[in-house]
């Protein structure tokens, strides 16, 4: 038995089988969610490289799988990430039917998850860029509405993800030259520049962020929210691998300064643009841009090797509130999107009187992402601001300023959704499924916000486990 067989090859086969049974939608949702939950459970229960007794049988799961002379390694240090990714996938799949996604959502979603896990497992780890590109290709059917032509946002997404691959692969080659001891300063600068460009393309860092708001307008909101969640998560984990594998990179103060500047730019520009948007899909795109900026800032806090694990814990803690908020936001937007032709404020005036639960849930999710008190996003955002004030007060001010922009954008959205041309009677037009899931999502946002001590420490602990993996 091998960990790659369990968490990569088996779910990959399941994804193909789910594609075959896509016409039986409820079965597909049940089996997709069940398999993702099962894999998350196995990642929690089984111990890789240990003998597992199962009644009269005993077996062990090895952590290494050889393919064409290269390795896929999924060891104990990866297990928390496996739990997080498969639990996240199960959560998104469970809501997909209600959110009205395309039939391909679950097969493609599971395929994307598998490819991104393979990206974290492949050795040499630089080949991850190729697997991330494959995940981007698999996500195309999710992001393109059948019956409509490909939008510019989708084409730009595809273009940037593809152009990023050569940069990352060449970085690997340049870095191996540096490690071999040539010590040429020009080579180091080349490597740093190529790497920065590669990650800027992959992680949609300014000025390569433009596809996100465009995609928010073009594609099904729930599917876009899923891609917005899972792709930056994996790419940022890949980036941390990068930082920790190369001592000269890890010890470079310049690199952390560049990360911080990029983070501040993303956060400030995103917050500024949100305040002036008139389309909820575009707002979601800019919110994700701010979130990527916050991720970069959280990574830049790990500059001090002594506090490294604690600060990186903050980076890992962001994933739960972000995933939860994006899922609720995506579902709320989908509920509205299926009933209105567009998500611009003019078309949505007064919709809050007809779809109060969807409107309420999406506003809660939005304000959670803005870091509003009592909601899921608040504890991690306040911890990040606190950490930034200790090291880089200007960056902390930028985050606060960006929050002002996000809140202004949120208030404008609230006004548009709640106030119509004429007074309308209150109605509840959501289906029962939508009511239940959106209400549960809203409650979950409050629970994570009010009791962060129940969830966030175990996520922060992931930093310790994940960083152990790095030689």
């Amino acid at each position: 038995m091998n960990s790659t067989l369990v968490w990569i090859i088996f779910p990959g086969i399941v994804a193909v089988l789910l594609y075959i049974i896509r016409h039986w939608r409820r079965w597909m949702v049940l089996s997709g969610t069940g398999v993702a939950l099962l894999l998350a459970g196995l990642a929690g229960l089984l111990e890789v490289d240990q003998v597992v007794a199962f009644g009269p049988w005993s077996f062990s799961i090895s952590d290494t799988f050889f393919v064409l002379g290269r390795r896929f390694v999924l060891g104990q240090t990866h297990q928390p990430v496996l739990i997080m990714m498969y639990l996240g996938a199960a959560f998104w799949f469970a809501g997909s039917n209600v959110a009205g996604t395309d039939r391909l959502f679950i097969p493609a979603g599971l395929g994307i998850t598998v490819l991104l896990i393979a990206a974290l497992a492949v050795e040499p780890f630089l080949y991850a860029a190729l697997l991330i590109e494959m995940a981007a290709l698999v996500s195309v059917p999710l992001l393109n509405t059948p019956g409509k032509g490909a939008g510019r946002g989708l084409l730009r997404f595809l273009t940037y993800q593809t152009i990023g691959v050569p940069f990352i692969l060449f970085t690997g080659w340049t870095l191996s030259g540096i490690e071999a001891g040539s010590g040429d300063l020009r080579l180091v600068l080349n490597a740093a520049l190529i790497m920065a460009l590669g990650f800027a393309f992959l992680l949609a860092i300014f000025p390569f962020h433009t596809w996100m708001p465009m995609l928010g307008v073009e594609a099904q909101p729930y599917a876009v929210a899923f891609v917005f969640y899972i792709l930056p998560l994996t790419i940022s984990l890949f980036g941390i691998n990068f930082l920790d594998r190369y001592a000269w990179l890890n010890g470079s103060r310049w690199l952390y300064a560049i990360l911080r500047i990029a983070g501040v730019l993303m956060v400030l520009l995103g917050g500024f643009w949100i305040a002036f948007q008139n389309h909820l899909g575009r707002v979601m795109g800019y919110v994700v841009m701010v979130e990527i900026g916050l991720t970069l800032l959280a990574i830049s806090l790990g500059i001090d090797p002594i506090d490294r694990e604690a600060e990186m814990g903050l980076f890992f803690s962001q994933f739960l509130p972000r995933g939860l908020s994006l899922a609720v936001l995506g579902m709320g937007l989908s509920a509205i999107d299926t009933r209105r032709e567009a998500l611009d404020y003019t078309s949505l005036q007064g919709i809050g009187h007809q779809l109060p639960i969807a409107t309420g849930a999406l506003l809660l999710a939005y304000f959670s992402l803005a870091g509003f008190p009592l909601l899921a996003g608040f504890p991690t955002k306040i911890a990040l601001i606190y950490g930034l004030f200790g090291q880089f007060p200007l960056a902390a001010m930028a985050v606060l300023l960006s929050s002002v922009g996000i809140i202004i954008g949120g208030l404008r959205a609230t006004m548009s959704l709640m106030v119509g041309d004429a007074w309308q009677d209150w109605q509840v037009l959501e289906s029962w499924d939508e009511r239940i899931l959106l209400t549960l999502g809203g409650i979950a946002l409050f629970i994570v916000g009010l009791f962060p001590q129940l969830f966030l420490p175990s996520l922060a602990e992931m930093a310790h486990i994940f960083l152990q993996n790095i030689p």
Binding site: H23, L68, R70, R103, P146, T162, L169
Partner: protein, 130 residues
């Protein structure tokens, strides 16, 4: 009016604008080729094991891919641009990486891009995916 279609205008004017478009593309292609010619020796110096013809060929393909990406927003041409760009990269990268896994993954990406391209070309004529 679809992208790529010309508006209704007199034949003479249409021929003139077509001529301008082709002339512009020829000019861009010439510039990219000149840039490739001037960069090729530097690439040979930077990457051990690559010869001049590989370097020049790879750079011209990279440049042509970027031209296609820059001048069109039609899915077919964007995908063709991406494939050309990646092929140019693969020509240069083959000199530094001989791993079978990487070659296989790059081939899979090429095939995937072609598949995505055909999906995107057909997408406007499709209902919900069956």
């Amino acid at each position: 009016m679809g992208e790529g279609e010309l508006p209704q205008q007199p034949a003479r004017k249409r021929i003139s604008s077509l001529f301008s478009a082709h002339l512009f593309r020829l000019l861009v292609w010439t510039i990219v080729t000149l840039v490739a010619l001037s960069l090729a020796p530097a690439v040979v110096e930077l990457i051990p094991g690559i010869d001049y013809s590989e370097s020049l060929g790879g750079l011209i393909m990279l440049g042509n891919g970027l031209i296609l990406l820059g001048l069109s927003a039609v899915p077919l041409w964007v995908i063709a641009g991406l494939l050309t760009f990646l092929t140019g990269f693969e020509v240069i990268y083959a000199a530094v990486e001989s791993s079978a896994l990487v070659t296989g993954l790059l081939a899979a990406i090429d095939l995937g891009l072609a598949l995505v391209g055909s999906y995107l070309v057909l997408a406007p004529t499709m209902g919900e995916v069956e």
